[in-house]
């Protein structure tokens, strides 16, 4: 809850700063008001970036953290300039709407945050995580947990899994990982933005889940790393394909993205086989329409949208990522994204060329 308050204050502060600083407009166009909605996962990063972007361009960016599912729905209803999503759109979702461009903005980790008295080190493997969230491992002193944590005495208490009650890209990344590592999970639950978890309790948004974990002894849940960090909740090391137990960090998240990236940047980097990779890592995207003239948007608004995305891809903005516990994009993803941005049009004419 403290974190919600912090986010609200940050947004308020950002708006105020932008409002005061609008006379330092450096772009050769009128300052624009952009609006976006979606993932709460990258929200702490976006708060800082949007504020910085406001100082550079004079544009104001309002972003509603309503969950990836909600953001994509708003984009489909054509009421926002961009959607934020931790899950890339499936081919089916893309066929339901006008053609869109995915621009990755940063990488992050979904962490397993827990609340156990006096315990600050915990090792988990993919299959054990799947069994905890499927309700098969019910107590903390289960022998499979004990085998992973020989140096820690886990209490004989029931495990309380905490998950998301709203449609969420964080849920997608987490269940995408579980689907890859556990055949049991793949056949019973699968991957998706909303999954029917059989036990535990749910809360709305990353801040909601972090708040519940913080307040509930013996609970464990999945949240964006920044939320666990801000609430000072410990999170587990997760075993990767190499058998290493890895903590999420800028380096271990970056390591997960060392593989191939397709031209449209739609790819999952969970369960990476790279050395030192944190296995529940993900890109997070901003999604915009390829044709920017919709819902009476002006060309200047379209230009401002692209300016924002270019700014996020710049070294200056990418440098912020590690300060707020995310990781910078690999060079390849930036390169592909700049090419993809060139294809964005207004009335059929490329905006950037």
């Amino acid at each position: 809850m403290n974190n919600i308050f912090k986010s609200v204050m940050t947004i308020a502060l950002a708006v105020m700063t932008v409002a005061c600083g609008s006379n330092v407009n450096k772009a050769d166009r009128e300052p624009q008001e952009l609006s976006g909605a979606g993932a709460t996962f990258p929200l702490p990063f976006y708060n800082v970036v949007f504020e910085q972007f406001g100082l550079v361009s004079g544009d104001q960016v309002a972003y509603g953290g309503i969950g990836s599912g909600g953001g994509v729905r708003n984009l489909r209803d054509k009421i926002v300039d961009f959607a934020g999503s931790d899950a890339f759109l499936s081919d089916k979702e893309m066929s339901d709407m006008a053609s869109v461009v995915h621009i990755p903005t940063c990488m992050g980790a979904v962490v397993l945050a827990y609340n156990l008295d006096g315990i600050s080190e915990l090792n988990l493997s993919g299959e054990v995580i799947a069994d905890i969230f499927a309700g098969n491992i019910k107590t903390w002193n289960d022998e499979r947990l004990a085998a992973l944590n020989p140096d820690v005495t886990l209490p004989a208490e029931a495990i309380i899994p905490v998950f998301r009650s709203d449609g969420s890209g964080t849920t997608f990344v987490f269940t995408d990982y579980l689907t890859k590592v556990s055949p049991m999970w793949a056949s019973n639950f699968g991957a998706g933005k909303s999954v029917n978890f059989p036990s535990g309790q749910a809360a709305k948004g990353n801040p909601g889940v972090a708040g519940v974990i913080k307040q509930t002894k013996n609970s464990i849940g999945y949240v964006g790393s920044e939320y666990a960090f801000a609430q000072k909740i410990p999170y587990a090391r997760v075993q990767n394909q190499q058998g290493e137990f890895v903590l999420p960090s800028s380096a271990s998240i970056s390591a997960a993205a060392s593989g191939e990236i397709p031209a449209d940047t739609r790819c999952s980097i969970t369960n990476s086989d790279a050395i030192g990779a944190y296995p529940i890592s993900t890109f997070t995207w901003m999604i915009i329409y390829k044709e920017q003239n919709y819902s009476d948007r002006t060309k200047e608004q379209a230009v401002a949208t692209l300016d924002l995305l270019k700014y996020i891809l710049s070294d200056e903005a990418q440098h912020i990522t590690s300060e707020v516990h995310y990781a910078p994009l690999p060079a390849k993803a930036k390169e592909l994204s700049l090419i993809n941005l060139n294809a964005v049009t207004y009335d059929g004419v490329s905006i950037l060329q």
Partner: protein, 285 residues
């Protein structure tokens, strides 16, 4: 001239409300139609599946109807021991005294507290307390939501009941006293029978309030899409599932959520109607 003008103006203004109400019902029915058509009305009411799997979507309202009815029922049960004494205190024992005025004002104040404040209190104070007592491991659930709901509906039940208790004619009570009845006997044998249907209707209206409460319940019920197995289990109410999932829902899921909204609307309207009829009867008697 001006008299006629006011008459027309009042008529138009008075017409707006029924129109708005009719419009809401119309919008709910048209948007919910898809879900009822796809699953069948009774199947939708009785199915406990709420599964999002693409292509095999199954939505049923039973877990949420159960959740709403359970939280409301327990809220009502927990509310009676608090609201009835307040009503007797204000309406009978200390009728017309300063302390009664203070008590009824304070109770009414409870009705003015925003539901998010109740939710926060429940989340940060009541929930850890329930965990500490080992009543339920996760703290949230039907019980926690019901307890907070009970406090929220106390003012509605108490102030209206007190009015009906005050209305019991003095002649009747004095008659009972003259026959040697004690105060407790007067309350049991005279006040309750006479004010009974009024008191009953005040609880009906309190139920109407509890049925639709969203924020507090969403924060405390645990938000799991299953039928609560016991009073300490987590679940979801009709209002809380809508609050949780409306943001990203589309197509069939959106229609199903609106259908749940329609059912909630109908249940609440029905309960309020019963309350209104009972009040009318109580007044006539």
């Amino acid at each position: 001239m001006s008299d006629k003008f006011y008459k027309v103006l009042l008529f138009v203004v008075a017409l707006v409300m029924p129109l708005v109400c009719g419009g809401i019902v119309y919008a709910l029915v048209t948007d919910a139609y898809d879900a009822f058509e796809h699953f069948g009305f009774f199947k939708f009411l009785t199915s406990k599946e709420w599964s999002y799997t693409d292509g095999a979507e199954q939505y049923g309202a039973l877990p949420f109807i159960t959740g709403t009815l359970m939280t409301t029922l327990f809220a009502l049960i927990f509310c009676i021991p608090f609201s009835l004494p307040v009503a007797l205190f204000v309406g009978e024992y200390f009728k017309g005294t300063k302390i009664a005025a203070i008590l009824s004002t304070v109770t009414d104040l409870l009705a003015g507290i925003p539901s998010i404040i109740y939710g926060l209190w429940g989340f940060y104070t009541l929930r850890p307390f329930i965990m500490a007592l080992n009543i339920s491991p996760q703290g949230s659930g039907v019980l926690t939501a019901s307890l907070v709901l009970a406090i929220m509906i106390v003012p509605y039940a108490a102030s209206l009941s007190a009015e009906f208790i005050k209305m019991v004619p003095n002649d009747l009570k004095e008659g009972a006293y003259s026959l040697g009845a004690t105060r407790a006997e007067v309350i049991r044998k005279v006040v309750f029978p006479v004010a009974g249907s009024g008191i009953f209707s005040s609880y009906i209206l309190a139920i109407g309030r509890a049925l639709g409460e969203t924020m507090t319940v969403t924060m405390l019920i645990g938000n799991t899409n299953n039928i609560p197995e016991s009073i300490t289990s987590t679940g979801n109410s009709m209002a809380s599932i809508i609050a949780n999932q409306f943001g990203e829902a589309d197509d069939l899921r959106l229609s199903s959520l609106i259908a749940i909204g329609l059912i909630l609307f109908l249940i609440t309207a029905f309960i309020n109607l019963i309350g209104k009829i009972m009040i009318k009867r109580a007044r006539i008697a």
